[in-house]
Symmetry: C2
Subunit: 200 residues, 2 copies
């Protein structure tokens, strides 16, 4: 019997980058079906009174996060550069990802998401730039023209709906993983979330 | 070749409870010497503008933490009750712990610390109460009279010094683990910190 898990991520989130590159292999090994769900942390943070990343608001925590990311990325053989500015504006990337994830082939959407994270945290590219997103679509084997879907009213509405669902699921950070209403927060809870999903 | 690690904890900290019960066995297996270092999160939080635990300030994060703690504690076969009030005032416990950790036998200090965490998070006892601390000392095979050391000026000064060292180490939460200036934060970084300490 196989379980299912939803992977909630914001393209601006550092630890979401790690999960994006870890989840495929781990989920396959565990026989868990993963739904990739881009969302925006901005409104979540705003509801807590924050106008930017808590890693910018709390300098000690921010300095630690970058060092921790260095160590974790090195352990995973992932490149790491600090995006400038940090956090990146991830609105356009999230919208294009929604379009990519409903396109064929099925693995194109996740491949696009990984390409965006790699462009941002591996190469320091600006993910609010439509040209970056078009390159990521091409890299994922999808049509570059999908980048224009960022301006599609149906996609904008869909992303607002995702935000409402995130609020219903009581999500407060990224990455998060949900399994039948059970919430797991943080890249370091990925294994536990997959195990939970596999309980069937 | 064996390494060393410092385990920084606040008795009021939920995830420190988990680490206190995990670190002994893991460190022994890895051949790492552990220094138990109680400190106070209060001044650290105050420096970030918080007057209580961030788990109280941010309700979604707090609700998640308790559910996460339930799952983790269950996985470790540790009992879990929510202290009332939360967080507990951990000043007196930290002072007595400093006294216990410099007493003989050497394993009495860590045993006292575990007993305090167990009283607080396993039984819901008030750890600001000198009677609770005396019981914990007895349980650890130490002299109940050590509880009075909470009022010893030398201990008070020592605890302030610990706070200054925590600031130098850029500690912003608990539990934390330090290895030669390298900082690891959170119970879920314990294994990585031990691995780092073992690099020799």
């Amino acid at each position: 019997m196989s379980g299912a898990l939803t992977f909630w991520f914001d393209f601006a989130s550092t630890y979401s980058y790690l999960s994006a590159f870890r989840i495929g292999g781990l989920a396959r090994a565990a026989g868990i079906r993963v739904t990739w769900q881009p969302f925006l942390l901005g409104p979540v943070f705003a509801a807590q009174g924050w106008t930017t990343s808590p890693f910018n608001i709390y300098p000690l925590k921010g300095a630690y996060m970058w060092r921790d990311m260095e160590r974790r990325a090195e352990g995973l053989n992932l490149p790491l550069v600090r995006p400038d500015p940090f956090p990146q504006n991830s609105l356009r990337a999230a919208r294009v990802a929604l379009a990519a994830l409903e396109s064929e082939p099925e693995d194109g959407g996740p491949a696009f998401c990984r390409a965006v994270f790699a462009a941002e945290f591996g190469q320091g590219r600006d993910i609010s730039d439509p040209a970056t997103l078009a390159d990521c679509l091409a890299e994922a084997g999808l049509d570059r023209a999908l980048a224009a879907r960022a301006d599609d009213p149906a996609i904008k509405t869909a992303l607002r709906g995702v935000g409402e669902e995130a609020a219903r699921q009581k999500i407060f950070g990224a990455p998060s993983f949900t399994v039948d209403g059970e919430l797991f927060w943080g890249d370091d809870r990925l294994e536990q979330a997959l195990e939970w999903a596999g309980r069937g």
